[in-house]
Symmetry: C2
């Protein structure tokens, strides 16, 4: 047996198990909903949202990767896939020959708008419908606390 010696308290153990299971199932639920309704995974949906919210709907690849906390490689692969689907496009950066500027296409925007409603509904259904305002605040505080360690660049 592993875990006979207690490195975590009983309460911490229980919370940990619940947290791991809840986050796993939550990600799966979000992925399934978006895959079903939009044909793209949650991670790709997030890229479309980020681009749609950017000024000019355009961002340098590195800037986009930084904002999403994705690796360059992950972003490149994702963009390649989204580009094939016609949802985004890339073109050489005029001021830096190495760079690429990513944009969401009209097709991408047309996909995004109706999809967003379904996504938010899923977020409500799985999370916010069941939490009190106080719990939302607590959860936010807890996550922000963890982000200090998890994301040193976090302000």
């Amino acid at each position: 047996m592993v875990g006979k010696q207690k490195w975590l308290t009983d309460q911490e153990q229980a919370t940990w198990r619940s947290l791991m299971l809840a986050t796993m199932l939550l990600e799966e639920a979000l992925d399934r909903q978006l895959q079903r309704d939009a044909g793209i995974p949650h991670a790709y949906y997030a890229i479309l949202v980020a681009l749609s919210e950017a000024s000019e709907r355009a961002l340098r690849m590195t800037e986009l990767a930084d904002r999403m906390h994705y690796s360059q490689s992950r972003l490149t692969h994702a963009m390649t896939s989204l580009e094939r689907a016609g949802l985004v496009s890339r073109h050489r950066c005029p001021t830096d020959g190495r760079g690429q500027v990513a944009t969401i296409t009209e097709t991408g925007m047309k996909l995004l708008r109706p999809i967003a409603a379904g996504h938010v509904a899923e977020v409500r259904r799985t999370v916010f419908d069941h939490l009190t305002t106080e719990q939302v605040a607590q959860l936010g505080d807890i996550c922000n606390t963890l982000l200090v360690t998890l994301d040193p660049s976090h302000e």
Copy 2:
């Protein structure tokens, strides 16, 4: 722009972003630590732990998949990989010709013991070191609340 109309309150939006980022970075941190120190992903580590905690260190594949909330297919692929690494083994179930009984090998146990300490240290470092007892309780409550919807089989 998407999201001009508010489907979530500002507080919910903020909490949602923090939650998504924190859970993503947390999973990555756990994966990286285990990949580095044990050469296996977090999802595989969890299988080893589950087997090590089972009576006789053995479980039917379906029972194991259910406990982990993994699909049969996911578990089969994972077991194939872990088996190749010599950490687990499978053998026909004596009472049901269709079934397989999964076990963790001595090699698997020998890997697990020292690894567990490092894993718990990472869990502490990223999570519990930064939360008050009250926050741990809050987080546990919140996750259990969400699990009612996310995992209907959850008691």
